[in-house]
């Protein structure tokens, strides 16, 4: 168990990340708030508790690798990178603008991004290859892959899940953002995936199910995943799409639309963000 002070520190970081997400989206005028806000807490635990990395030296050999298979949560990704110090926070204002390093979906131009992602169903395969390569060199680096639940509808995702189980990749950990929603509605209505944990288990994965907004559970699960030997681990994080902003929570329509200025102001207010965020 992690001590309470660490949990409180991480909660504060997550709060700040959520402010950055809304702020970047408000400046961009387009983008994906829903999945960014649902994945904020466990990604905060990952980046600011678990990950071995050096924001000053992106290519540091000892770094753990993170692949955002759900590349559309770029507002979250860039906010994490800004908070960690890979990029300047001011740069978030250029998100999705012409000439910016912060593209609509993340690519290699931005420090801290290993590879461009955005076409769903590919990230875990990249993670499998990374994990195989690192293991071949007997390196201790771990590979983390952030996935959406709707992405489990892609056939190629199951090819990747199958292979990671087959190769017994215990240096690979997936965090599945199980917010239950996708663009066309509830995942269960669009193309049902339940029982999702049983499916992953059947493909030889160690599964951990958590409340993805409970910081202590996020941290514990990430700690635990590092102890699992002989098989990869998936942390299935039950989350709420749009978490923290009342009018976005559990609403599919907020998958890929930015808040208008007045909506963004309300969101920032609800999140108790500092006044300097209101500059759009």
């Amino acid at each position: 168990m992690v001590d309470q002070a660490e949990i409180e520190r991480l909660k504060k970081v997550a709060k700040s990340i959520r402010c950055d997400i809304i702020w970047a989206l408000a400046h961009a005028g387009s983008g994906h708030p829903g999945g960014s806000l649902s994945a904020t807490d466990f990604c905060t635990a990952l980046y600011f508790h678990t990950l071995k990395h050096d924001p000053g030296t992106c290519s540091w050999e000892g770094r753990d690798r993170v692949i955002f298979s759900k590349g559309h949560v770029s507002p979250l990704v860039f906010s994490l990178l800004a908070e960690a110090g890979y990029i300047d926070r001011e740069e978030l204002k250029t998100f999705r603008h012409f000439g910016s390093r912060l593209q609509g979906h993340p690519n290699c131009e931005c420090p801290g991004i290993e590879v461009g992602t955005g076409s769903l169903g590919q990230g875990l395969s990249i993670g499998v290859g990374l994990a195989l390569g690192l293991r071949l060199d007997r390196k201790p680096n771990r590979v983390y892959c952030i996935m959406g639940d709707g992405e489990n509808q892609e056939g190629s995702t199951w090819e990747a899940i199958m292979s990671a189980g087959h190769f017994k990749l215990d240096n690979l950990c997936v965090i599945l953002d199980n917010n239950g929603l996708q663009i066309d509605g509830w995942v269960e209505d669009v193309m049902g995936l339940q029982p999702i944990a049983d499916k992953w288990r059947a493909f030889r994965w160690h599964t951990i199910e958590i409340d993805g907004h409970d910081m202590a559970q996020c941290v514990d699960a990430l700690d635990l995943a590092q102890e699992v030997k002989g098989q990869p681990t998936v942390i299935i994080a039950k989350t709420v799409k749009g978490k923290g902003v009342s009018f976005m929570e559990n609403r599919a329509e907020w998958h890929g639309k930015a808040p208008k200025p007045d909506e963004a102001r309300q969101a920032l207010q609800e999140l108790a963000c500092p006044a300097e965020y209101l500059d759009f």
Partner: protein, 316 residues
Amino acid sequence: MTEIKWKPTRDGYGDALLEMGAQDERIVVLGADLSDSTRALWFWKKYPERFFEFGIAEQNMLAAAAGLSLAGKIPWVSTYGVFVAGRAWDQIRTTICYSKVNVKIAGAHGGISVGPDGATHQALEDVATMRVLPHMTVIVPCDYWETKKAILWACKYVGPVYVRFGREPVPILTTPEEPFEMGKANLINDGTDVTIANNGPVLYECMKAVQMLKEKGVSVRLLNIHTVKPIDREAIAKAARETGGIVAVEEHQVIGGFGSAVAEAVVQTHPVPMRFIGIQDRFGASGTPEQLFEEFGLTAKHIVAAVEEVLKAKKA
């Protein structure tokens, strides 16, 4: 001509991997249940720890190859052209090419000469689907030696490369000593009346056509162009300027492939009459390579007829 030896281009792939595997620890090979027929098996037997079997799951294999590259490896992905350049196209586009990941793709069983397996297994569109991707290099070697040289070159180059090779034995028409320069055409025969621009193992038919045309008093320039992308614009422009007409020859659909690449160079430099030998917007079929070359119009006789059309168009 002295007696010609025959060997499949896929053997050049298998041998080049063995050679590079010994030289460079970073070389790894991925297979999708076709390791024997792609010749990846040879590497697997020699370096089992550096071979990864992905089963019948090409999409995963392609993006996993990107991951291996990001871990510092030089991955060679081996499967049939149809299953890689078709099925896994989005992985190649978005994961490999967009981020310019150092992945090498070996497309086996290219062209109609695959024979009895028929249309499903004959890659006839792979050059087009690979050529259209930014950052991608596309090479179609003509014989065993050219394949080997292309693979050795690709291992040193950093960036995505697609190399296409075939199943059947084809004549060995180059030598180990001849230079292989990526993106540069090789002059096989010089001539002044017309140019045949060849891509891949159909070279043998082109050489026969050159001989037949010589007997008719036509002086043919024969260029062997292994690299489809980047295309040798300079050699093509020079050929257009100096011979005034071009026939492009390939074992691939005439839409979007090598001939299209030649035409793009021609119309932007020195427009001249052109004809296209290749698969004319059809699917393949079962048969022997000889039967199929006849049916789909890829023999020396067909090339001669196309040259004569170009000569007529030149005069018009």
